[in-house]
Amino acid sequence: MSQPRASQSRHTKSFWFRWRFHLSGLLLILPMVAMPFYFDDLAMSRGEKGLGERDLGQHQVGPWQIQLAEWDTNPPWRDGVASYMKTFSLSLCETCIPEVKAAYMRIGKPRNLRTAGAISFGTPYRQFISVPITDSATADADIWLTLEGWDGSVHQISMPLADASPSAATFIQRRNH
């Protein structure tokens, strides 16, 4: 009785012996699983899925109409040793493109144009503002958007940070407790 069992175990052992070194090929499952997300991210970065992951709608800022979005719904990302950042995306209406000089965003009301916060980068159709999550920021704070015109005029709107980015509000809440 023991003889066939022994030869069987030897057989499975040699099968294992033959194939165990090919197992690292299973790592190639990773790119296959990641592929749909990769193409999703790519479409996002090319702007094919809209302005941002979470649309914040149209807003009237003084004479100008803009569209705002939260670029991604992830928690704030770490930017070097400096701080954590939350990125928003913004697009200007066709008629306000030549009129708007710059857009700024910050948490909390700015005292003047010099402290209006982070400046936007990009084209008028799609620009990004990465807002630093300051140490003093609270979860119930407002986020302020400031638009500066080429003629020197300044217009602002604000909204609760929790509306603009629930993930940032949660992040701050967790940090402050």
């Binding site: 030897r10 040699s14 012996f17 033959r18 165990r20 070194f21 090919h22 197992l23 690292s24 090929g25 790592l27 190639l28 990773l30 790119p31 990641a34 592929m35 997300f37 990769y38 991210d41 790519l42 090319r46 702007g47 094919e48 809209g50 302005l51 991604d72 992830n74 990302w77 770490r78 070097g80 040793v81 697009s91 066709e94 030549p98 009129e99 000089k101 710059a102 857009a103 400046i119 936007s120 980068f121 990009g122 084209t123 008028p124 159709y125 799609r126 620009q127 015109g149 080429w150 003629d151 020197g152």
Partner: protein, 417 residues
């Protein structure tokens, strides 16, 4: 197999033992992960010529000169061409290879928030098409470099998985050379036997390709170890950049316009590039990024003439053409020059097609070395396993030595198996 069983002296024994250990280390470095490493080498090899593959596949990406090829388009002429063909679009950046078989590219932004890349003939200004939504080059790089794994929080896990294989690769190279006694002889008398059996062929191939690839494997594995370190440093917020914080155009330089509805009063692109080329006569502008806002600069870049591995860039004030920041080779620290050279050294993309083809060739060799290593091991292992099993059957005794797995060339000096 003519194995001379010389039992000369006692001194030979420890040397043989050491060789045996080196050989086992060599075998174990790649064998358990060979399939993964094979995939990385293969995709990396394709990635070196991915731009050329796109060139072959997509005629729009080529820069065919017309019969009477005049001067290359200036940056302003490119802007005019895009504005005419796509009046609603806004240019973000232009890349105009100085001397190339590739069409120049313009990255443009549309009102529907999408961005696209246009291929423009650098001689005629014809917009030949746009890069397809499936960017083969980007895809192969992503597959090779980080297995397409996401970059949501710091470096991708795929990046680490790939770059860490450089460590066993470097150890394989070193141990391979230690095990292969007098490997330099292989240069003088190369041997590739097709007519014995597969095991002998792959063995010859593995050694021959190995010695000819010594510099290539060293470059690839050392640069990849840097990629591993780069990820670790960045993820731990360690930076030795001398670039400093981003600079902005002084508010006093940005004009206040009395009435709205005017386009930004930027200087022309050719004016900006001329300012740079006047200040630095050895600077060849090959790409331009438009200011990202009213307080940002034209960023004008080009491959360094003195050190072609790296690109240099200059930031030009878009209102008065003043050069306000330079990032040229002379502005970089030694550490930045060395670490910055790692990527071009890894990809071979700093001379042109000729070097890419050299990298492609050695890439294929390296891919086949991973494969041949596996073939040698499994053929030898199968043979030895069969022998052990046979032995056991007869003697009912366990395998006593690993000697049978060690090839003759690793054990004794001189002519090998």
């Amino acid at each position: 197999m003519p194995t001379s069983t010389s039992t000369k002296s006692m001194t030979e024994k420890p040397r043989a033992n050491r060789a045996k250990i080196w050989f086992l280390v060599h075998s174990w470095m790649a064998m358990p992960i060979w399939a993964f490493v094979f995939f990385i080498c293969l995709t990396g090899t394709i990635a070196t010529v991915s731009q050329e593959i796109v060139w072959l596949a997509d005629p729009a990406s080529r820069a065919n000169p017309p019969a009477q090829a005049g001067n290359l388009l200036s940056f302003d002429e490119i802007v005019a061409v895009v504005n005419e063909g796509h009046p609603e679009a806004i240019i973000q950046s232009i890349s105009r290879p100085v001397k190339s078989q590739f069409a120049l590219t313009a990255r443009i932004s549309y009102p529907d928030t999408t961005t696209r890349t246009l291929y423009i003939n650098p001689y005629t200004g014809v917009i030949q098409g746009e890069s397809s939504r499936f960017d083969f080059r980007q895809f192969v790089r992503g597959l090779h470099g980080w297995l397409l794994m996401p970059w949501t929080n710091g470096y991708s896990w795929g990046w680490y998985l790939v770059s860490i294989t450089a460590v066993p690769m470097l150890i394989s190279l070193i141990t391979g050379l230690v095990v292969y006694k007098r490997f330099w002889r292989g240069f003088l008398s190369p041997r590739l036997r097709f007519n014995v059996n597969a095991r002998v062929f792959w063995g010859d191939f593995h050694r021959l390709a190995g010695i000819w690839s010594i510099p290539f494997i060293a470059i690839i594995s050392i640069t990849s170890i840097w990629f591993l370190l780069q990820g670790i440093l960045q993820d731990n917020q360690v930076s030795f950049s001398t670039a400093g914080p981003p600079i902005y155009v002084d508010r006093a330089d940005v004009p206040q316009l009395s009435s709205n509805s005017q386009t930004p009063p930027f200087i022309r692109l050719d004016e900006a590039t001329a300012a740079v080329e006047t200040a630095f006569p050895d600077f060849q502008a090959s790409f331009v990024s438009m200011p990202g806002n009213a307080y940002a600069h034209y960023r004008i870049g080009g491959r360094s003439v003195s050190y072609p591995l790296l690109f240099e860039s200059v930031s030009v004030n878009p209102y008065n053409a003043k050069i306000e920041q330079t990032r040229r080779i002379s502005d970089l620290s030694w550490l930045e020059i060395i670490t910055g050279s790692m990527r071009p050294l890894h990809t071979g993309d700093f001379v042109g097609l000729s070097l890419k083809l050299v990298y492609f060739f050695f890439g294929i060799l390296l891919t086949l070395m991973v494969f041949s290593g596996m073939m040698i091991w499994s053929k030898r292992t199968f043979r030895d396993t069969a022998a052990v099993l046979r032995e056991r059957k007869i003697k009912q005794q366990p395998n006593k030595q690993m000697d049978s797995q060690i090839p003759a060339y690793a054990l004794k000096e001189g002519e090998s198996a």
